[in-house]
Symmetry: C2
Subunit: 290 residues, 2 copies
């Protein structure tokens, strides 16, 4: 079993980006600039946004964190998005999800200029992905593809089972893996809560990508010997033995599953850092489009 080390892989990507930023600076040009909008004070969201700002600093991007009160109206948020769309000094921006219940997330996503939508959530960018046109691929699927690419995992003709059909992970992941590309060219099955004989289906997978948000759902009996297992799940579980008061648990029962795998990611240091690196890649892309 070899660990797919998203941490070191993402470090490598960050170094490559930092190198590119140095080149941009050397020409006297403006460096890439990412803005992040954070509504309210959700703990997990605070952490994610803080990471994104830190990542920008590390590679030499400019970054702006825009905090808004959790009681702002939908219109106030839409107005802010309008400002960011129009601000030529900002290459790309993200609105950290989830939003408070009184704000329509779809409305917010649709308001973002697709050219600045570095999360890749807008219909136009999702559609470009399907059509094989230049686009911002949403961060998690993009990060997983990058991980497979850098570890030179063979995907062509393999059976890839994607557990989960969400708009931002499962569905785009399935499409990317089925496309005529490398990584890609896999026979892909999209499985979900209504799938019958799920264990048998998972056992038929050469590559198993799990994104359902159910802790330790995938057990050893669901994994074929020699499979590649990618765990997207990241659930905070209370743990008083930890300083933070919680620990992260994946969708895969790592300890039991790992010895059956050729490659596997761990809940921390796996898909997470690759997702973070993808946002930087998309922001760099947004900058070079100018």
């Amino acid at each position: 079993m070899q660990l797919l080390d998203g941490k070191s892989c993402s470090q490598q990507i960050r170094q490559e980006i930092a190198q590119r930023v140095a080149e941009i600076k050397a020409t006297g040009s403006r460096v890439p600039h990412l803005a992040a909008v954070l509504v309210g004070n959700d703990g997990a969201s605070e952490t994610y946004v803080a990471f994104k700002v830190k990542d920008c600093q590390e590679v030499g991007f400019d970054s702006t964190l825009i905090r808004m009160d959790e009681n702002i109206s939908e219109q106030e948020l839409l107005d802010k998005i309008g400002e960011l769309n129009a601000d030529d000094s900002i290459d790309g921006f993200i609105v950290q999800l989830p939003l408070p219940a009184h704000i329509d997330e779809n409305k917010v996503i649709l308001a973002i200029d697709p050219k600045k939508d570095v999360d890749g959530f807008c219909p136009e960018n999702v559609g470009n992905l399907i059509l094989g046109l230049p686009t911002y691929v949403s961060a998690t699927p993009n990060g997983i593809m990058e991980l497979l690419r850098r570890y030179q995992i063979e995907t062509e003709g393999k059976h890839c089972v994607v557990l989960g059909r969400s708009n931002i992970v499962g569905t785009p992941m399935a499409i990317l893996m089925s496309r005529k590309s490398n990584p890609g060219n896999a026979t892909v099955t999209i499985a979900h809560s209504r799938t019958k004989n799920l264990a048998a289906l998972c056992r038929s997978a050469d590559i198993l990508i799990v994104a359902i948000g159910k802790t330790e759902f995938v057990t050893a009996d669901m994994v074929k010997d020699g499979a590649v297992v990618i765990d997207v799940g990241q659930t905070r579980v209370r743990d008083s033995s930890k300083k933070s008061g919680f620990r992260m648990v994946g969708d895969v029962d790592f300890d039991k599953v790992k010895d059956k795998c050729s490659y596997i990611t761990y809940v921390t240091g796996g898909v997470g850092p690759m997702t973070r690196a993808s946002l930087l890649q998309n922001t760099l892309k947004a900058h070079s489009r100018l």
Copy 2:
């Protein structure tokens, strides 16, 4: 075995649309108006466009056929699209594909206003489909979903194998069948030219949707007893015994396969008429959005 009769099903849809047009007329409003752009004189394209115009007449839509010489420049076609985008009397329009080799199809598709893109080919509409937002679903997948719906084929939890991963049929079909909807909620496998053990995979399908453009590719040994088989293939094969000089051949070896199926479509009177009806449905939708 029961034939999925796209012809009678599409007739029913056309009647429903005609009824709706009569209601629109009764209010004194303008009826839906579809324009079709035909570049050059390709035989198949001529036929398809003629059908589309005829369908419009039958349900009471206005229609406009715009013929352009096969030697027009890309810019001339883009200018025409600009005109159609701006013309308030036209609800939706299509540009018949394929286009002559000197014209970039993607550029043309991207020039169409997504609100008038009744073929559902624009990135924004494809993305809306993935995101479950209101959209124009491209005609063939939409027609197949309608056929499954009207025949009340059970799809939830079934294994649906989609053979073919094209942008306009295979990929959107796979997504629609995997979505939380009815029809939908199927476990979907996307198979293609790089898929290994294709026959065995097809035999595992409760629902087999074939869109690869290879005549009679699916043989009896590839079909499970009781499967639902949808044949999207329509290839013209020379046949001097026919008045037209050709006959249509599907991707499925119908005569050999049919007795194994619970439901099956035939190459003519199956998916084709449903595709045509879908364009009318999308045009009506474009009209009601005004």
